[in-house]
Amino acid sequence: MTATLIRTVILDNSGIRRALTRISHEILEKNKGLSDLVLVGIQSGGAYLAREISNCLELIEGERVPFGSVDITLYRDDIKQQAPHKSVGKTDIAFSLEGKRVVLVDDVLFTGRTIRAAMDALMDHGRPKIIQLAVLIDRGHRELPIRADFVGRNVPTSLKENVAVIFDEQQQPREVVLEK
């Protein structure tokens, strides 16, 4: 018997839109504009959201912000415990990170281990001037000293629960659900 999951939508499509718009304004405010700004999303949800934020920033400022994606599989700290090894996703950063203001984007911030791995990966692509973190959901339970600079929504959770951002076939964020 599989246990029945209780799914609650905690953020609908327009809620996600509003959160991403606010994050975009906060990014602009904190960085005083777009100069030297680049977005890098963590595969796969974060990469989709980085594209959305890039579009938002373009609507606000009328200028394109470069965005790329990073896959952290090869940088995970639990790789020795994995059997079989996961398939490796695509890292696509078509610009130099040297001296750039990098906004790292992920969908859900949880233990912080993914962010640690992503920062190591970014450093191997050059030395950014600064790395900031933007997440749609912060669900708590950090295991490393990491915090986000821009948060869509804080969602206190228990470890038994799961938070997932659901994307549609066009890789557009549809809703955020809490499963328990």
Binding site: Y75, I79, A83, P84, H85, K86, S87, V88, D124, H125
Partner: protein, 310 residues
Amino acid sequence: MAEFKHKDIIALRDLTKEEIELLLATAENMREINSREIKKVPTLRGKTIINLFYESSTRTRTSFEIAGKRLSADTVNIAPSNSSATKGETLADTALNLLAMKPDIIVMRHAVSGSHYFLSKKVGCSIINAGDGAHEHPSQGLLDMLTIKDRFGRLDGLKVAIVGDITHSRVARSDIQGLTKMGSSIYLAGPPTMMPPGVERLGNVTVCSSMKEAIQDADVVIMLRIQQERQGKTLMPNTREYSRYFGLNPENIKWAKPDAMVMHPGPINRGVEMSSYVVDGSQSHVLKQVENGVAVRMAMLYHVCGGELE
């Protein structure tokens, strides 16, 4: 998504289509590492890889060594001229001695077909075949498939001609095993003395009576080296005659499709199986193959490390 559960990669014959697709997909995404300034990821930190080459090799050994280093593993090379094999130690004894040094992967090339299966029964670590006799050369088969996939975006429905010394070629066997699984059709040509009997039984394989029949309208032409070091003296009269009947030159390459790609596992004997015009021509993908070799070997090392003990 398929999973890769093998601890060894000895032959493409042992892998499913899905497992081959997974290795190729991983290799495609590994290429990004090879193009950036810091060409290293921490994935296999603390792992030890022994490259045990009983036969000479530059390309394959260097490629495996670089692949291991780019994944942060420690790689050690052992060549026959300075190993105990020349002093009479058996393969099993060598392996057990190496095993006492706790390697995680042994990459081996050996002149005896099937020696890797023997070794994998003796040792607990992962075994990767870098070529065994006339049996298989799985990393070459995989990098050939990746190079073809780069060019055509697919592997199914392609006509692939393999020309040369099929009998002694482990590359041909791995190419046949891999490509037929992925849906390509194989056409073989070569002197009858170098054509193994019953090779059609390997799958979608046609043995052709002439080079023209094999490469006519082919999408891919894979040329093989005449392995004179493995042959007796009687398999062909001389290299000039061989070159006339089975060498690829600017004239007969026109039999293949206009956009056909030409490959060769190397080392090339210029003027024997391929004229220099073809080797350096626009249809040649020889250097692309070498480039893909590193990424493919990184994918192999990565996936066997996550494999289970069988």
